[in-house]
Amino acid sequence: MVKKIGSRIYLSIIFLFLYLPILVLIVLSFNNSKTRVKWGGFTLKWYASLLENETIIEAFVMTLQITLTASILATIIGTLAAIGIHAMKSKGKAIMLGATNIPLLNADIVTGISMMLLFVRFTELGFSTVLIAHLTFDIPYVILNVLPKLNQTSKYAYEAALDLGATPLYAFYKIVWPDIRPGVFSGFLMAVTMSLDDFSITYFTKGAGVNTLSTMIYTELRKGIKPEMYALSTILFGIALILLLVMNYRSSKKAIN
């Protein structure tokens, strides 16, 4: 019993540690006071002025654009690549997996810098360079999530489908796809998470006028953060919470069925 209470307390402390900053931001977003350390009453004015703050809205839209474009493209390229890699002989497979691990294991700063060196040499920094950089570190997450699922699928089921007269595409859609779909989906989620949270790589590859939330906040943070940021982060957290809860609910419902 003591043990149980102890572990509950420990759990609570860790969760407090993880969620306290978020709580602070949420509280501040409703704080009707300019200084950050005093409570000046409840207000929604930061939410109203958020909508009029073009810098923030632009950075938010830019973040969404980059995150979604990069994650979806990465999911497509990554899934195809995973299928290709899966079909390779062991040597090719090893080489591909080795290369796939590079952006994952390399330091962010090195990845960012190396891509910057590339872009500076051949093109102008801008939206597309950030997108390419994000794709580069998103694809490996997709591949590594899809490959294990592919390893679990039976090769024979696919061949059986072909034997029964299915075209490769149809056989893929009916046989392979249902098996790897969870992997593809979690790869996609992983890519979204990583893209949303990235700072270092964006920082080194972004061009003039391109700002994601991360890079914008980085500059804002040094200039004195605007309370609208708290409002935005509260909204973001709310969206993330709802999104993940819905997904969790779905998968748990499925598990019961």
Binding site: K34, T35, V37, Q65, T69, A208, R222, G224
Partner: protein, 352 residues
């Protein structure tokens, strides 16, 4: 069900990228890419310019002149207009990176205080390249509740152990080194390594007392009461005094730095006339006033200055007295080796 989510996401994505693309294809022709210090231009004024001229502005900010130099030199973005500090402009002029300005295209240039234009001679000797934007000093911003005025008349206070953990120093090489250099009665443009080493030793001695090395955060940290003493630009000090309570600003008697931030047109400019159109725009009285209100640094714009009330005119934090200006030096640029030396000293200070 997950298919639906993906469909919706894909749709959303389609819309987003579509709008994104359509924007960028238009602006390619009619844009100005501008690089400026952080918090150094009223965004509303930028919008007015865009509305009046139909020119789209790609606006980017930086923190220190060194960062600006890197961004510019990296060459991956072709800037049309730049605003930075005296010594960095000097350096770029010497490197042949700056285009001569056609002042005929900037009729509003007449508003700029000739005294300040004269002071610019240290980096733009023939007045061919630059347009002064703001100027000011470097001094001590202090919490009047904690630090008595008498103590901040000299840089020595920054070595007072009473204020351990309450001192904010600038996070850039030259602004940080100027403090011990002046305390030692050297020039802020010192290049003698022995003298510089002495200054560095003072900074090492001071390091345990320092709360942080900041640039843009300084004002906010002081307003929030996180520190009692900070070395800041006069403009930052004025902003802090406006927002916070009990904050004072002095330029210590050993002297300090007078800085003049100016606009110039770099070699990478694609359309000089448009850049000059923008410069003329920012010299317009209404726009200069907007920017003065927003930035709150000393403006060289005589019309704006004259329209101010007496209290503002006499605010020595913003507008330094002639006496103070005479006591201050303007930075000059360093050559490659000198820069390397400064950087090396800086890294030494920062590495534990």
């Amino acid at each position: 069900m997950k298919k639906h989510i993906l469909c919706i996401a894909a749709l959303l994505l389609g819309c987003l990228t579509f709008t994104g693309c359509s924007d960028s294809s238009v602006e390619e022709e009619n844009t100005l890419t501008i690089l400026n210090y952080g918090k150094y231009f009223d965004p509303d004024a930028l919008q007015i310019f865009e509305e009046e001229t139909g020119i789209t502005i790609k606006y980017e900010e930086y923190e220190s002149p060194e960062e600006m130099y890197t961004k510019y030199k990296a060459g991956s973005i072709d800037y049309d207009l730049l605003c930075t500090s005296d010594y960095m402009i000097h350096k770029l002029i010497e490197e042949g990176e700056v285009l001569e300005m056609n002042y005929d295209n900037i009729p509003e240039y007449k508003n700029i205080d000739p005294d300040i234009i004269d002071s610019s001679a240290s980096f733009d000797a023939e007045h061919k390249y630059t347009l002064p934007y703001f100027y000011g000093t470097v001094g001590i911003l202090y919490d009047t509740n904690v630090v008595p005025e008498s103590e901040v008349q000299t840089w020595d206070v920054l070595w007072d152990e009473k204020y351990t953990g309450n001192i904010v120093m600038p996070n850039s090489v030259r602004d940080c080194l100027l403090v011990p250099l002046k305390r030692l009665n050297y020039s802020i443009n010192e290049t003698n390594e022995k003298h510089l080493r002495k200054a560095l030793d003072l900074l090492f001695e001071q390091k345990p007392l320092v709360y942080a090395y900041f640039v843009d955060e300084t004002a906010d940290e002081m307003i929030a009461g996180n520190a009692a003493l900070a070395v800041v630009y006069s403009g930052e000090a004025a902003y802090a005094q406006d927002e916070g309570e009990n904050l004072g600003y002095t330029v210590p008697e050993e002297g300090s730095n007078l800085w003049i931030d100016s606009w110039f047109i770099p070699k990478t400019c694609k359309n000089q006339e448009k850049a000059e159109l923008f410069l003329n725009f920012l010299c317009r009285e209404d726009i200069a006033a907007m920017n003065f209100d927003y930035v709150y640094y000393a403006t060289p714009h005589t019309a704006v200055y004259n329209s101010l009330d007496e209290e503002s005119k006499n605010n020595t934090t913003i507008f330094p007295t002639q006496e103070t200006i005479d006591n201050c030096e303007v930075y000059v640029s360093l050559d490659r080796e000198e820069t390397a030396l400064y950087n090396k000293l800086w890294k030494e200070l920062k590495s534990y």
